[in-house]
C-alpha cells in the first residue's frame, strides 16, 4: 500500500511538473495577475491530487484539470477579477509608441488585451480563453465550464465581439494584420 501511494505521488509529480507551464499561462489569462495565477494553479492541483487515483487513470486527465481550474476560478476570482486587472498605470504614454513595433509596443499589446479581457464578464472570459488560447472545441470548452455548447458559443461570441469593439484592441489587431 505504501509503494502504491509512492507510485501515485510520483505519477502526480511528473504530471504536475509537465503541465505546470501551460497551466500557469492559462491561469494568467484567466486571472490577469501573476500571484493570482499561481494561487489558481496551486488550488487546482491540490484538488487534482486528492482525486489523483481516479484522475491519473482517466483517459483524459487534462479535461478533469481544466474543469477543476474553471470551477476554482469561478469561485475564487470571478468577483475580484476587475480588481486584479485594474490598470496600474493609465498614463497613455505607452500608446504613443505602440506603432513602433519594438518590445514596448509588444508590451502594450499584451497590456491592451489583458485590460480588455478584464472588462469581460467571467463566463465570457473563460470561454474566450478556453476556445482561443487552449484551442478547445466548443464541446470540450462546454465540458470544462460545466455548461452547454450553446452557452460556450454565445459566451465566446459575445466576448470576441466586445474585444473587437474596444478601440485599443481593434487598433492592435489591425496593426497585427498589417505586419
Amino acid at each position: 500500500m505504501g509503494d502504491g501511494k509512492q507510485t501515485r505521488d510520483e505519477e502526480f509529480q511528473s504530471f504536475m511538473v509537465g503541465r505546470w507551464p501551460r497551466l500557469m499561462r492559462t491561469a494568467f489569462l484567466l486571472t490577469g495577475e501573476q500571484h493570482a495565477a499561481e494561487d489558481l494553479v496551486q488550488s487546482t492541483l491540490e484538488q487534482v491530487y486528492t482525486a489523483w487515483r481516479r484522475v491519473g487513470a482517466a483517459d483524459d486527465p487534462e479535461a478533469y484539470v481544466r474543469r477543476v481550474m474553471i470551477n476554482v476560478h469561478a469561485r475564487k476570482h470571478r468577483r475580484r477579477l476587475r480588481e486584479f486587472l485594474a490598470p496600474k498605470d493609465d498614463s497613455g504614454l505607452v500608446r504613443e509608441v505602440a506603432d513602433t513595433g519594438d518590445r514596448i509596443a509588444q508590451a502594450d499589446d499584451r497590456s491592451a488585451l489583458l485590460k480588455a479581457l478584464a472588462q469581460l464578464p467571467a463566463r465570457q472570459r473563460e470561454a474566450v480563453v478556453l476556445r482561443y488560447w487552449e484551442d478547445l472545441t466548443e464541446t470540450q470548452a462546454a465540458e470544462a465550464m460545466g455548461c452547454s455548447v450553446g452557452t460556450v458559443k454565445s459566451s465566446a461570441a459575445k466576448g470576441i465581439a466586445k474585444l473587437r469593439a474596444i478601440p485599443v484592441l481593434a487598433e492592435t489587431v489591425t496593426q497585427e494584420r498589417r505586419k
Binding site: R25, F28, L29, E46, R53, D109, R110, L113, Y132
Partner: protein, 260 residues
Amino acid sequence: MTGDREQQNMTQTDIAHLLADAADEVEIGIAPVQAVIQAGRRRRRARRWAVAAATAAVLAGSTGATLALAGLPGGDRQTGVAAGPSTPQARHVYRPQRTPLGTGTDRGSDWRVELTVWGAPRDRAEAAGQLTAMRKFGFTKTVLPPGPDGLVNRTSYYASLYLGDDRKPRVLLFDNLEKWDRMSGRDVSFGALPLAKEGVTGSGRLAVGRVAGTAQQVKCTWKKDESTVDLPVAAAGSPDRWFLCLAPEGESVKAAEVIQ
C-alpha cells in the same frame, strides 16, 4: 457575407495570437510539487474528517493531540445511505441513535464518551428540524452547518465527551456524510484529544475512532512498549465498530492498530 466571416475569422485568429503573446508574460517559475502534495493531503484529510473547530486548534497546536488516518478505504467501497423507513422519526432524523463508547473516572470526575448518529433528512424542512434538534442537544455552531442545506441527504455522527455533571457535550469528532466510507480489514481512523472540557488544552490521551465491523481488538500505543487494548463495539446507525482508549495523564496516543 463571406467577407464578414473572413474578417471575423481573421480577428479571432489575431486574438488567439495576442492571447498567446500575453500568456508568455507570466513568470512560470518552478512547480511547487511538495507544497501542493502536502496541501492536497491536508485537503483530503479534512474532507474525510471534520473535526470540531476547537479540537482542530488543539490538533494544529503542539499539545501532542493527533488525528490519524490509516488505510482509509477508497470510494469504490462506499456504501450508500439506506433508504430506510419513511417517517423522519423512524429514520432518527430528530432523535439520534446513541451508543456509549466508554466511561471512567479521572481525578475524581466521571466521564463518558457517546456516539450519536443522526439519520439523513430527505428535504430542507426535515433538515431544519434536525438542526434545531442538534442545537437543543447541546451542539454548538462550530460543529453545525450554517444552515439546514448542509444536512439534507447526509447522515451525521458525533463522538462527544461528557465530563462530570456537565450535560453539554464536547464534540471530539464528527462528520456529515453522504455515504459511509466503510472501513475494512485493518483500516483505522481515529482522533486523539485531551480528556478535558472545551477550550482546555492538554495531551491527546483520549483516542476515539472507528474500525471495520470485523475488527475484534485495537491496540493503542503512546510510547514504545506502552499500550492498551480495546475491544471495539458496534454502534447503532454506523456500519463500523468504534473503539476508545485512554493513555495515562501527560501521554498522547500516538498509534492505533487492529491486532485481531
